[in-house]
Subunit: 312 residues, 2 copies
């Protein structure tokens, strides 16, 4: 039996929050997908919230305030994209140490806004309070692109699994920073600011996607979320994964297998989706769906522990 | 010039977040009111977010986890009520120390749910991450009761100012706890769990309210928000304020003026509103609106600093 939150873990804690909750009028999609879908005021709203906490999700010596602003927006907007929704607005809750320089906060805002502005997303509200650690709690709100959300539970045996966006880049960048290096710059920058494929919702709908999920916990973990929700088995094919040259080179220098970064790295916020027929570029087919359960790699169980854990 | 966040303060920090932001499609009411109003998916959504941080907003030795859950829900739901909106769902972001007992979290959930369930409000989603301080970031989402939100800017000269709910109880309870006492229990409990007047939105609309605001920063501060947004002057009449007996008694024992608690205490989440004609019970008329600007008490400037400051 779990006695501390570290023992129960993130997903156990979220399950416990809503255990036994009766279906609520207005909540069409509740916890357990990338975002909630709510019937509100005669329409439908898609909503998600995420926290970034200093030392746990970023370090002020590794990431600029602007980087943190980009990342806080991006990870929430990505959750809306994963439901095939259009982001409209964000609410920003900030916990800030009293002695934090105002310049740092102004830069954070610049990053937040720079991620949101090109999408036409505005800051609709916020709260700023004192805290010992910099804490950024962003809620993103949007509307569905199509008639229905693209959920995790629609994958069918015979579908292909495809990815749009980067896998493992942020994880490789973090590994580089942890060893005390600052390059390859392209990977370090990927850790600092994810490059979310913001048109993935439209593109997934166009290609007839059956399920989609934001890769925030790692490809295997998030493909696992689709497999579980859909009641299917997913096999990932390592020969179809893309390992960019800088990643191969630094992996070799650090003596690690870059495919591990690609399979387990979260925080790039790529999209993983399933399709009845192979989708065109920019999607990259990386696996197949079959009847059964669980996720395998090249047809075999994968021995390493899977994905990011918040209380590790 | 402000160099730290403590020097700039909460409102300066929120203003800076949205300074120069162009009007955004979909945001009907942005920052500066109790909640945002968004045009989403063919309807309208009312949304607000607030953070509670350990040691700054609660102490684990003064409040139970259940109290913290009640308070985190209540303060957000109150912001929706203040717009004349019906709360529908909450999203809950939690930052938790890894060694926090799971029992504490379960109790927090019990408090959150106990505040929401009677209103038919459900938990639609959440995020749980590691943090050094317990941090509770609740976002509340709802829909308008009427055709338009009840904003801060509609008060007119000749209106009366009225309050629905408690004023100063939570502040008095906190003063008691700070002196090392645990009673009067009714005041200490008011600090731990606000008693939000959840039907105030309907009631304000029925009585033809012209403006409304949640009292979270103190009556004078929040009446000031209405005065500023409406371009009017507000005078508060101390002979119309209600000072309950336990508050008079403990104020006398502590050698303080209880009217200060009533004028400055936030966190009870009463509603302050303006009406063309005096509203019936449970509203209590406490002042008048005239042309001009600012807030006075019994016709005179009030010397004490006003309201709660997060970075004090």
């Amino acid at each position: 039996m779990a006695h501390t939150v570290a023992e129960l873990g993130e997903f156990g804690l979220i399950d416990a929050m809503v255990a036994g909750q009766p279906p609520t009028k207005g909540i069409e999609v509740g916890p357990g997908d990338d975002a909630a879908v709510l019937a509100l005021g005669g329409g439908r709203t898609v909503a998600t919230t995420d926290l970034l906490v200093e030392t746990h999700h970023f370090r002020r010596d590794w990431s600029s305030a602007e980087d943190v602003g980009h990342k806080a927006s991006a990870q929430n907007l990505a959750d809306l994209v994963a439901m095939a929704a259009r982001p409209v607005a964000v609410l920003v809750g900030l916990g800030l140490p009293a002695d934090l320089p105002v310049d740092w906060v102004q830069e954070l805002y610049r990053g937040l806004r720079a991620e949101c502005d090109p999408l036409g997303v505005g800051v609709a509200g916020g709260d700023v309070v004192a805290a010992e650690q910099v804490t950024v709690a962003v809620t993103a709100l949007g509307e569905l692109l199509g008639d229905a959300p693209l959920r995790r539970g629609g994958a069918r045996a015979g579908d292909v699994v495809a990815v749009y966006g980067r896998l493992g880049w942020a994880e490789a960048g973090l590994a580089v920073l942890r060893r005390g290096f600052r390059s390859p710059r392209v990977l370090v920058d990927a850790h600092r600011r994810p490059a979310v494929p913001y048109d993935a919702g439209d593109s997934a709908l166009e290609h007839g996607a059956t399920a989609m999920c934001d890769v925030s916990d790692g490809l295997l973990a998030d493909a696992g979320h689709i497999a579980t929700a859909s009641g299917v088995a997913i096999d990932v094919h390592t020969d179809q994964l893309y390992v960019p040259d800088p990643m191969s080179e630094i992996a070799s220098a650090l003596g690690v297998d870059p495919v591990r970064w690609v399979l387990h790295g979260g925080e790039d916020h790529a999209m993983v989706a399933t399709f009845p027929t192979p989708p065109a570029h920019p999607w990259r087919v990386v696996g197949t769906v079959a009847s059964g359960s669980g996720v395998t790699v090249d047809g075999e169980a994968y021995e390493h522990t899977s994905g990011h854990t918040h209380f590790g």
